[in-house]
Structures are given as C-alpha cells and as structure tokens.
Symmetry: C2
Subunit: 213 residues, 2 copies
DNA sequence: ATATAGTATATCGTATACGATTTTACAAAG
DNA sequence: CTTTGTAAAATCGTATACGATATACTATAT
C-alpha cells in the first residue's frame, strides 16, 4: 500500500488530505491503533508524522492522551488571519504575473464561481490562492502560507462555511484586475478583505454553533 | 536524567539549545545512536524530536541518510530575512510598551553593548528581540519569529559573525527611542535595517568562507 | 439513585528488534 | 599508485514489545 518515500512523509500527506476532505475533523483525537490498522503500517511512522503536524499547529498534542486535530479558537483565528494576510499580501506585492497566469487565475475563479458542490468549491478557492502566489520566489514564506491555508480550509470544510460565493469570486476577479493593471496596493487591499471575509464567516459559524471559545 | 514531560519535548529543547551553543553545527549529520547514548534514551523520542525540527526548517531530513542541521543558502537567507522582518515589524507596530519594558529593553541593550564574549553577546541580542515583541498578543506569529530567530542566531554563532556591535546596539537604542516617542514607522524602519545588517553579515562571512551557495 | 473505589481494557510513550540501506574498510586488478 | 569490486560494519526506518497512564466498566457504600 504505502510504497516509495518514507511512510512518515506519505502518512503526513494522507492526514492533511483527510483533514481537507473532512474525514478527520477539528477536535477529534486521532487514534493511532485505528490509523495504523487502516493504513497497514505500525504506529511508529504515524507518530512521527503527527509530531511534525503539531509543529505547524494543525495537530495538538496532549501528553498521555494523544494527538488531536486542533480546534480553532477565536484568538487563534485572528492570529492566523493576521499572519496569512500580511504574508500573502507581501507575496502578491512581489510575485511576477504573466498573461498566462492571469488567464489561469480567471479560469480557476470562473470554475469557483460556477461550482455549487461545497468540497469542490473549497478546493478551487484553495487552488486560486495557490496559483496567486505560485511565482513568488520565497519558498519559506510560501510554506508558512500553505500551512495556514490548509488549516483555514479545513475549518471552512468542518463547518460547511458557505461563503457568499459571489462576493468572494468577485473579490478574486478584482484582485486579478488589479494585478493586470499593475495596481499592487489595490490587489493587496482586496486580498486583505478576502481573507477577512473567510475568517469572519468561520467565526460567525462558531457563534451560531457555540463550539469553541 | 530526562524526567517530566515527554522525552521528545525535552530532547527538542536540548537540541535547540545545543545548536544555539554551537555544539551542533550547520551541515553536520545528527547521529541518532550517539545522541541516544549521550542522553541515555532510545532513538525513538530523538527521531520524533528531529522530525519536528525538520518542520521548522532548522533540521533537514534526507531519506536513508538521516537528519542534518540545515545549512543556510543565500536564497534561504533572504527568504527568512524577509519573513522575520515583516513579521517582527508587524509585531512592534502593534505591541504595547510600558515604561518598565522600555527600561528593561535599554538595560538588555546596555549589557549587549558592553559584553565582549561572543556567546553572551548573541544571547543578549536574542533576548533584546524577544523582549521587543513580548507583549504582542499574536502567539502564532511569535512562534514563527522565534523559529526563524533561532536559526539566524545559530548561523551567527556558527560563523562567529561579529556584528559591528556599536552599530547594532545603536540601532537597538534608536528603536527604543522611536517606541518611546510613539513613532512606530521609525521603529520599524530601524528594525528592518537591523535585521538586514545581521543577514548581510552572515552572507559576507559566507562569501569569505566559500561554504554554501 | 448517586458517588466512590476497584478492576479491566485500551492506548500512550519509549525501548528494543530487525530488515533495508548506506558507509567504511579492504582486497584485487590495472 | 589508483580504481574497482566486495564484504563487513554502521545506521536508518519501521515493526513489535512492554511498562505507564487514561478510560471504561463494575461493585460497593451511602
């Protein structure tokens, strides 16, 4: 089943994908024996993968109790929102955008706008953001963004946060417009609002579900 | 020997401290059997700690060969410089500074200015930066800064980078002045220059030692 | 009926074992 | 002397074992 690369690497990827698919939800404890059985490996590489994921915050470790998928507190929501916003704004400030890329961005956004299936929608939203900073050279910065983005999308999926999609797709279009016009400040401003919208929607859903403070 | 907490957590801390002390230097392979012997534990928690450290970039993993302390490439130097600068600038833009804190900052900086012992000097430089953003509430952002700062100081130690200390201490003082005067843009500008100085010194030392491109 | 204590079970965190891979050492050939 | 090939040793990555801890369940006391 698990071949090539270390199991640890593969398991990490599987876990992240499972979180993005809603198979593993925030708050739950990840059962090492169950996962080991499911993946047909021992708990050793699973533990190693999970300890890695604690480092980026998507998994929380509690001694003697195990690994839990991190729930989002209001404080942390604003914390990560702040970080992703300034870093992604820095990225679009400095990235290069060819015509091909802008066309590709519009294409993704059109698909995003037109899809109604929630999982697909989230995937396209994520894809848009990935494409947006694809050409930015700072690998380190992109990794941080990637980690945060994964978490945000996981929470959106978890709560089936339904963004006002026209608003979000419109924002994406305005970002692309601004980039096309070379108006980086404008693009940043809209991107800031776009992430703000995401986080606010998550927090609004929290309030209605009274889950986590 | 290792009691309380998980071994993994303690080992991670020990490893980071050893890197900051120059006992484990960039580029070397971390021998699991040797470390296990030295710390009187099995390799299991060591591996777990090391896999965590790969996630923040301070350790690099190569399949079947093991864990290495990450060497600094020129690209990565500018990558992490960019990230720490924007994040630390954001932190001082938003942090609160009491009189007590400004006094404490000056105190640390005075010690930094007056010390000649390289290890102690680096520690004080690090302490200054820690105190600088201590009151900023964004825990997530502070962790990212902490991780990067650890790496930078490790490289400074590794190359015994001797900053023009009067310049650096002066910059610190100007930052404090600006904060005292409520001039956050000014403080940010000087902080930016301060980190730029650090990174440039590291890169200059690289060039003279022709180690890593 | 509820609370507490004791026991059984499941899981966690680490140690040890073992096959796979890499590194090192040494011998043979050019 | 240098290069190549082979064997031995060391290490890596994962599986398994086991004592420690947490959780679940049962019995007893109030």
């Amino acid at each position: 089943m698990l071949v090539k690369n270390t199991f640890r690497k593969e398991i990490k990827e599987i876990l992240i994908e499972a979180m993005l698919q809603g198979e593993i939800e925030p708050g739950i404890r990840i059962s090492l024996p169950e996962l080991a059985k499911k993946l047909e490996v021992s708990v050793t590489p699973i533990r190693e993968a999970l300890t890695q994921l604690t480092e980026i915050g998507i998994v929380t470790y509690i001694p003697n109790r195990g690994f839990f998928v991190t729930e989002l507190t209001k404080n942390e929501a604003s914390d990560i929102f702040e970080v992703i916003t300034i870093l992604e704004c820095k990225a679009i400030e400095k990235a290069e955008y060819s015509n091909e890329q802008l066309i590709e961005l519009r294409k993704i956004n059109r698909a995003f706008e037109q899809t109604i299936e929630p999982t697909q929608k989230l995937k396209l939203d994520m894809e848009f953001h990935q494409k947006l900073i694809e050409n930015y050279s700072n690998v380190y910065l992109k990794k941080i963004i990637e980690d945060i983005r994964t978490r945000i999308f996981m929470y959106e999926f978890h709560f089936m946060v339904t963004q006002p999609i026209q608003t979000s797709a419109e924002m994406h279009n305005h970002i692309i417009d601004a980039l096309e016009n070379g108006d980086r400040p404008k693009a940043k401003e809209i991107l800031h609002a776009n992430w703000s919208l995401s986080i606010q929607n998550i927090l609004a859903t929290y309030k209605s579900k009274d889950l986590c403070d």
